[in-house]
Each structure stands twice: as structure tokens, then as C-alpha cells.
């Protein structure tokens, strides 16, 4: 398991550690998976012990932060890997939550059946929402996705009676896993923590696979990618679809965590804030997504204790964006990766020595 100390010849690990050792500052994405392995080991234990150590309130806040970490991972995938902008990720999250709740409410489906159906439907709507990206880019695309967010909020979450329970909130009755009711905050935390890990692992596997390499190629030089054989149409739509599906995972988990589904958390302001947080956190970094989510959820909770400061959330987000642009262009994730690179440098130095490995 200790990939950082593997011998240099070990195939994938060596590749990663060699990159790490050389420390190309521009490439935080490759380094991120090392951080992820590191995140997986110690904190996994910590996470299993954590519920006992925290009070119910802190645990609920932390659980919600994990849900938003998944939502941010969807933006890391779409913006960081595929290179596309979306100002409607909170809408996909909301669509997932509302569909799940509506399927449960109307057809009395179990949560474990309703949630996957919702995710698949949102994947399809994400592919549709990606169609404008085949023609548009940059600011124009951002505005189109923003208008999609407004449409979803006004006509679906607030306007479609079937979806929003005739304007009333949906109340989710939480299911059980292996006999443990998810009404219990400890069990809820663990389920959502595992979901976050699975989502991150899946995204890392995609990134290291042919899908991710094609996304990177397309992001770096779209025309050259297409003349190298990458189907730009398929890869962009796949990126939008998968990002929407991951946001929907966050949505159905949100429904589970909060127990109530209402339109407010999924309006266009939430989408803009999500993208702002993703940028502050480092839009190419998965660990950054986790850090960003903790910041995004815990900051307002903290500010709540000082009622005069509560309206400052947006201001602090804006200030954070400016600070990030000035001092940490790679975001929090970049800072994390830098720190981790220094931490692992001693172990990886020998691995970076053999340069002849690629000789033919």
C-alpha cells in the first residue's frame, strides 16, 4: 500500500512518485491522487472514530460538508479536467434531490431505488445541458448555463407541482443500512463519507484512464486532440453528463442528510457560490474540493454565532476569490499539494533518479 516508498520499477506507483519527485508545479492534478491515497489511509480511521468524538450538531455540519465536497468534485471534473464552465451544478444537485424525493413520494419507492434512477435521469439531462458547449465557450457558455440554472429553479423546483410536492417541501423518510437507521447521525456520516470516497476514487480512475487523458488533451489543445482521434463531441457531452450525475449524487445525499428537499439551496446563487468555492479551492484538485467544502459549509455555521457577521458570507467568498487569484493561483488544493510534496520529498527523491527507464 505504501506507494511512496515503492521501488522505482513498480509500474503505476513509480510513474506517480517520479512525477511527484520532479514536482512540476503546473501539474497539481497528477499529484492529487497521491494526496488522495494519503487522505485515504489515516483519515479513514479518523472518520470512523470521529462520529463518537463530535456532538450531534458538529457531526451534522460535517456530514453536510461532505455532501458539498461531492458537489465540488463534479466541478473539479467538469472545469478542472474537461475544461468547461458550468453555472448550473447546484441545479443538477437539486434535480437529483427533487427527483429522488418525488419518486419516493409519488410511487413509494425505496430510497435505494429512487436515488439511482434520479442519478441516471440527471446524467441524461447533463448530456443535454452540454449541447450548447459544443458551440459555445467561455463567458457565453457561462451565461447559457446560468440561464439553465434560472430555468431549473423557476420552472422545475418552484414551478412543477409533480416535482416540488405542490409547493410544499418534501420530507424524506431515511432508510436503514445493515440494520442501522440513517436517522442516526453516526450512520449517516459514515454512509456519506463512504460515498465521497467512492466518488473520488471513481474520478481518479477516470483521470488516470483513457477518458481523463482525452479530457486533458481536449482541454489543452482541442483541435489537436480532435485530429489525434479524440471525439470532442462525445468527450464534452460525457464530461457534462458525468459531472451532472456526480452533482446528483450530492443531491440525493443532501436529501438524505437534511431530510427535507426545498428549492432554496439549489437556486442560481448556490450554483455561482459552488463555482466560486471550486475556484478558491483549486479547480483541478480533488483534495481541494474537500477543503473547499469544509470552508463553504463551516464558515456560515461559524458566522451564525455572530449574528451581525452573518450577511458577510458572500463578501468573504468574494474576498477569498481575490486572495486566491493573488496568492494561490492553484487554489487551496495547490497549497495542499505543495505542502504534501515537501512532506514526501525525502521518500521520493531516490525514485526520481533513474531516467533511463523509458529507453527503448
Amino acid at each position: 500500500m505504501h506507494s511512496a516508498t515503492r521501488p522505482a520499477r513498480a509500474p503505476v506507483g513509480a510513474d506517480l512518485t517520479r512525477r511527484l519527485g520532479r514536482g512540476s508545479a503546473a501539474e497539481t492534478a497528477h499529484v492529487g491522487s497521491q494526496t488522495l491515497k494519503w487522505l485515504l489511509r489515516a483519515p479513514l480511521l479518523l472518520a470512523l472514530l470521529l462520529p463518537g468524538a463530535l456532538g450531534a450538531y458538529q457531526l451534522t455540519v460535517l456530514t453536510l460538508a461532505l455532501v458539498y465536497a461531492i458537489a465540488l468534485v463534479s466541478l473539479v471534473l467538469l472545469t478542472g479536467f474537461v475544461g468547461q464552465v458550468s453555472l448550473c451544478q447546484a441545479s443538477f444537485m437539486g434535480l437529483g434531490a427533487f427527483l429522488c424525493a418525488a419518486l419516493m413520494g409519488h410511487y413509494h419507492l425505496s430510497y435505494w431505488i429512487a436515488a439511482p434512477i434520479a442519478i441516471v435521469v440527471v446524467f441524461c439531462s447533463g448530456v443535454l445541458a452540454g449541447l450548447p458547449a459544443l458551440r459555445l465557450r467561455g463567458l457565453t457558455l457561462a451565461i447559457v448555463t446560468l440561464s439553465l440554472a434560472l430555468l431549473a429553479d423557476n420552472f422545475l423546483f418552484q414551478g412543477l407541482d409533480w416535482l416540488n410536492n405542490n409547493g410544499n417541501h418534501w420530507v424524506i423518510s431515511r432508510p436503514s443500512v445493515f440494520g442501522a437507521s440513517l436517522d442516526h447521525p453516526d450512520a449517516l456520516f459514515r454512509v456519506i463519507f463512504i460515498a465521497l470516497l467512492l466518488v473520488m476514487l471513481a474520478v481518479v480512475r477516470l483521470r488516470e484512464g483513457r477518458t481523463g487523458k482525452s479530457w486533458y488533451a481536449m482541454r489543452d489543445a482541442e483541435i489537436a486532440a480532435s485530429t489525434s482521434g479524440v471525439s470532442v463531441v462525445a468527450m464534452k457531452l460525457l464530461g457534462f453528463g458525468l459531472a451532472a450525475a456526480i452533482a446528483a449524487v450530492a443531491g440525493v445525499l443532501y436529501a438524505l442528510a437534511i431530510g427535507v428537499v426545498s428549492p432554496e439551496p439549489f437556486n442560481f446563487v448556490a450554483s455561482i457560490q459552488l463555482l466560486a468555492i471550486a475556484v478558491i479551492a483549486g479547480v483541478r484538485s480533488l483534495p481541494g474540493a474537500l477543503a473547499g467544502a469544509l470552508f463553504y459549509i463551516i464558515l456560515p455555521q461559524f458566522l451564525l454565532q455572530f449574528p451581525t457577521l452573518a450577511p458577510l458570507t458572500s463578501l468573504i467568498l468574494g474576498g477569498g476569490l481575490i486572495l486566491q487569484m493573488l496568492f494561490a493561483p492553484q487554489g487551496i488544493g495547490g497549497i495542499l499539494d505543495d505542502a504534501q510534496r515537501r512532506l514526501f520529498r525525502r521518500q521520493t527523491a531516490p525514485a526520481s533518479a533513474p531516467q533511463d527507464e523509458e529507453g527503448v
Binding site: 484512464g209 486532440a225 489525434s228 482521434g229 458525468l242
Partner: protein, 274 residues
């Protein structure tokens, strides 16, 4: 039977006719060169061939079939590869990953293949990497495979660009000014390399180049493009002594850089080249 047949291709940008009913042929195994002053439409023709630019009229026939409707990635799959005038490296991938990409593309269901590693899943990647290493060895860039393209000088990046195109296993390779910025000695070595590459990979080549030394040393057949029209074609040595070709190079606004070698070529069969 030509490998690729360009039939009456016309491209217009607004009121400007960039290509005016251009017809040309590339025979299998032939080294074809295309010259012309800046703005003559050379890169536009490349874009039409590789599917980036749709022609207003005309057909591209490749292996006896019209490929007008094919997207750039489908043309790559059918064996049309190209390089770009400015190297377009995938900057966040290592050189090895840059070269592996064309041989290791997502297929239908690729997401699941990436998520769930089945036995033998590494095979395709290994094959693509082996090819990448082989191509890099031929081009003499095996020592760069571990680096990122941005860390390398322009000359190396041009070779990486060429290597990536070769890794897609093309039959028809379009080279857009691959030697610009090289000095005379480097250009001579590059000409040798191109001929070797052509023989090893059994390619049909179409070369756009300003450097007449390079064109004359590699090309079997030469087309001259001027203001979107074919000015001349034929055996390279004959064509460059054609008075109309010489005049086009001397007459254009931005032709000065190209005019000197060509003009001297016209007057003096061997001597005046750079």
C-alpha cells in the same frame, strides 16, 4: 489511383475566397509539397483535409470515398494525420502521454473500462506506449518522454508534434511548416529524417514549407498555391523555375522572405539556395 484526391475545393471566409476550386492528387507513397506565399491558403487546405474547415464546394476523396462528412477524429481514425504550424502539445500531459494518447483513445463504454479494470485492460495502453517509445526512438526524442512539453525547446516540441501524428498510425501525413525556425544544417538533417520516417512508416506525405532547400530535397511532386489558386504543379525542380511561380513570389507583399532563395533558384539551377 490516388490515395487522396482533392476535387474543386472552394473555401470562402465572408467575401474572401481562401481556396478557389483547388484540385490536387496525392498518390500512395508519394512525397508531395505545397508552397506559396503567406495567405495563399495552404493551412486552409490542411484544415479542409483534416476536417476542421468545411469547404463551400468540392470534395475530398480518400481511398475512393468522399470524406466530406467525417469529423476530424474520424478522419484521424481513417489514417489522416497532421501537425500544426505552431506545435499544439497537450501541456498537462507528459511527452509519453502525449504520444500514447492517439493509440489509447476512449471507445464506447470506455468509462466503464476505466472504472472497472478487467484482466488484460492494460494491454491496449502498453501497446500504445510501446509504439510511442518506438516512434520517439526513431525521431531521437526518447530522452524527453518523461518531461512536460513546456519544459522543452521549440525544436523538440516540433518533433513531439510529428511523433504524436505518427503515433496515430496515419497513412496520409500532413506537415504544416515543420522546419520553420531551423537553421540550414538542422534543415538538412530534418530532410533526411522526413525521408526516413516516410520509409519506415510507409507514408504518403503532404508538406507545406517555406524553406525551398527542404522542399527540393524531399518532394516528389510540387504544387504552388497563390491567392487561393493553383499556380503551378509538377516536378519540383521544373516548377520552381517557372517564370509565373518566380513572379508570384517576387510580386507578393510579404514575399520578400521567400523570394530570394526561389528567385535565385529560378536563375541558377543549384547555386543560389540558402
Amino acid at each position: 489511383m490516388p490515395l487522396c484526391d482533392v476535387r474543386n475545393v472552394t473555401v470562402r471566409f465572408g467575401g474572401v475566397t481562401a481556396l478557389d476550386a483547388i484540385s490536387m492528387e496525392m498518390l500512395e507513397g508519394e512525397f508531395v509539397a505545397l508552397i506559396g506565399p503567406n495567405g495563399a491558403g495552404k493551412t486552409t487546405l490542411f484544415n479542409v483535409l483534416s476536417g476542421i474547415q468545411q469547404p463551400a464546394a468540392g470534395d475530398i476523396i480518400y481511398r475512393n470515398q468522399s470524406i466530406n462528412a467525417l469529423a476530424p477524429n474520424d478522419r484521424a481514425r481513417h489514417g489522416i494525420g497532421r501537425t500544426f504550424q505552431t506545435p499544439q502539445a497537450f501541456s498537462s500531459l507528459t511527452v509519453l502521454d502525449n504520444l500514447t494518447l492517439p493509440g489509447w483513445l476512449p471507445r464506447f463504454g470506455g468509462v466503464f473500462a476505466d472504472l472497472i479494470p478487467l484482466p488484460g485492460a492494460g494491454q491496449a495502453r502498453r501497446a500504445a506506449r510501446d509504439r510511442a517509445r518506438g516512434v520517439a526512438a526513431v525521431l531521437g526524442i526518447a530522452d524527453t518522454l518523461d518531461r512536460y512539453p513546456s519544459e522543452l525547446p521549440l525544436g523538440k516540441r516540433r518533433l513531439i508534434e510529428l511523433a504524436r501524428a505518427l503515433c496515430a498510425e496515419p497513412q496520409l501525413l500532413l506537415l504544416d511548416e515543420p522546419a520553420s525556425g531551423l537553421d540550414a544544417e538542422e534543415t538538412a538533417r530534418f530532410a533526411e529524417l522526413l525521408l526516413r520516417v516516410r520509409d519506415i512508416f510507409k507514408l504518403t506525405m503532404l508538406l507545406v514549407e517555406h524553406d525551398m532547400q527542404l522542399v527540393l530535397s524531399v518532394a516528389d511532386y510540387l504544387y504552388v498555391l497563390n491567392f487561393g489558386r493553383l499556380l503551378a504543379q509538377g516536378d519540383p525542380a521544373m516548377v520552381v523555375s517557372d517564370p509565373a511561380v518566380v513572379a508570384a513570389y517576387l510580386g507578393g507583399d510579404d514575399a520578400d522572405a521567400n523570394a530570394a532563395p526561389l528567385a535565385s533558384r529560378g536563375r541558377d539551377a543549384q547555386g543560389g539556395l540558402r
